[in-house]
Subunit: 350 residues, 2 copies
């Protein structure tokens, strides 16, 4: 292991460059940041020294002074979800474009982790935060907001017009799904969802289911709601298991509407194993339109969320806030649409 002559902290600092180049430390800083004019000859000496000593400025030390690191944090419950990762992709695009670094903090749907990670990021080096929360934690978010930390909340209506938010209209979206199904004559629509005690988004979707039924003159049947917390962790596997059991009870719906595509996959599998043909016997409709829904058998009809666009918007909003630009609209509602593929058709006659 070869050691340099000087080894204060193991890493070359601006000071080393200054002495190597025989100039003042501020001069080095100035050539690095192009923050004031430096004579070409001096500049060259500095650049040479940097090259020679393989120097890289310490962003953190800079951040300590400058109070900005051009890094933003994204808190989310679960990276393995295709929905999240698509949104992330949208965030990243803008990060790159506007020269920020994106830091991901993943909470695995654990509320304490959420608080812990958010705090850790805030305490450290982050200029702002994008918050996908798994929970109803308005208080916590509000507290961050009140500390004047730039934040935008995504995929979760907060009911606070002050806090910047990017969402879809969940209730209307599910209502549209119900309308769509009804236009194919479905009257027995089984709704598959996780429990929403703790999650606005899930609750709003459920309301959409309810109001959709009402609007279409269908009586609500509690037996046709498959709601379980278990589905949170093992999404597809649980919906598969639950639907399979449900089918054995013999009370058949004409269609399944699921709160997410991943559940629809489980439904599809259960239906197949129990000998039902989709959509001839029973229709299935998803929600999200994640990538894989283009490869199921049959191809999945679903509600499309513009995930990448949501990420773009959220990140642009956040950076605007960080950089002090005027933000007119703080709550942004991204439109959704239905993608018609193969898994929904007319309800079988009784």
């Amino acid at each position: 292991m070869k050691d340099s002559k000087k080894r204060k902290s193991g890493v070359t600092s601006i000071k080393d460059i200054a002495s190597e180049a025989g100039v003042a430390i501020s001069t080095v800083s100035n050539v690095i940041n192009e923050t004031r004019f430096v004579a070409d000859s001096t500049k060259e000496k500095v650049l040479d020294a940097i090259e020679k000593l393989n120097y890289r400025p310490n962003i953190i030390a800079r951040g300590l002074r400058i109070k900005s690191t051009r890094a933003i944090g994204v808190i989310l419950p679960d990276i393995s979800s295709s929905f999240f990762s698509q949104v992330i992709y949208g965030i990243e695009e803008i990060a790159r474009q506007r020269d920020y670094t994106m830091i991901l903090g993943c909470t695995n749907f654990d509320y304490r982790e959420e608080v812990k990670i958010a705090n850790k990021l805030i305490d450290s080096f982050i200029d702002g935060l994008i918050f996908f929360s798994g929970f109803d934690n308005y208080e916590f978010i509000k507290k961050i907001y009140d500390r004047n930390i730039p934040i935008v909340v995504i995929d979760k209506a907060l009911g606070d017009s002050e806090i910047p938010t990017v969402v879809i209209d969940n209730t209307a979206a599910v209502e549209n799904c119900v309308d769509y199904l009804c236009s194919y004559n479905h009257k027995k629509i089984c709704y598959v969802t996780f429990t929403g005690d703790n999650q606005t988004t899930v609750r709003q979707r459920y309301e959409g289911y309810l109001s959709g039924l009402k609007k279409n003159g269908i009586d609500f049947d509690p037996d046709l709601v498959l709601m379980s917390e278990e589905m949170r962790l093992n999404e597809t596997a649980s919906s598969y298991r639950i639907v399979k059991e449900f089918l054995k009870k013999g009370k058949l719906p004409t269609a399944f509407l699921t709160v997410a595509d991943v559940f629809a996959y489980g439904v599809l599998r259960a239906l197949f194993e129990e000998g039902f043909k989709v959509p001839e016997d029973i229709s299935v409709m998803g929600f999200d339109n994640i990538l894989f829904s283009q490869f199921t058998r049959p191809l999945l009809t679903t509600l499309k969320q513009q995930k990448r666009v949501m990420g773009n918007i959220a990140m642009n909003l956040l950076v605007d806030i960080i950089e002090g630009r005027e933000v007119e609209d703080k709550t942004i509602i991204v439109p959704t649409s239905i993608v018609e593929r193969e898994s929904v058709s007319f309800a079988r006659k009784k």
Copy 2:
């Protein structure tokens, strides 16, 4: 917006606590870090002040002194991939356990991004790095390693026994797959892969295909290799398109072996649309065993990588290195196995 009396940098610092509690800065530091004994009465005053001013120590400033932030960086090509996200999960488990924060940097398979993000993390606040590379960039990794930055490389054999690495034996694994297929009498095995010009892992798997054929006395037929760079970005969609075209040419294999499960999904779909039954007419075998392979039709027979375990091992290794523990084995090979499901059966008679 309510302002505090003092608003130097907008955030309360250790100094504020010291003056609020009427003690020295160092005392505050000492109670926070429990780094030397402080009288109970003093301690209480400090704690009260912290509570009252809602103070949180600035990890970065600490890091600047201490040269450690207990954060590690993970560089990876693509978060949306199920394979990566499972490994990440394994990394995270250990991070939590050993009290580190995991920072994710995503490169979208862009080499310059890879360099840029890695450097940015290193220059900043990271204690170590886990590197999933999309590329053959031994030089770059070596340079990081030589800078004495704790690093472990995952999913990529480097051929340098010095640099800590967690991998599977790709060649042997694919060879096993070929053996397995041969045990079902397959002699025309079509191999679906992206190009490996730039990626050791992909190349090694291809070698496994070749050596597997040889070992089983099968002549190599170049027409049976579907190799394309296009599949990198649109994995499933591309494999679907390519296989569909291939099938129309009429030269039929008895089995498809794909370099990743995501490709197998495309193959499955193409086969279905072209009227082939799997596995009766043609068998399909994947590689990775990602979650979704339990829900395809038919269920996918595939080679299982222990993704979470790989993450666990890599992170433990990294933390051991960071904390200066002695590491005996620097190259760790994680075993693989074949998961038999429904998509492979005996080759049809010619």
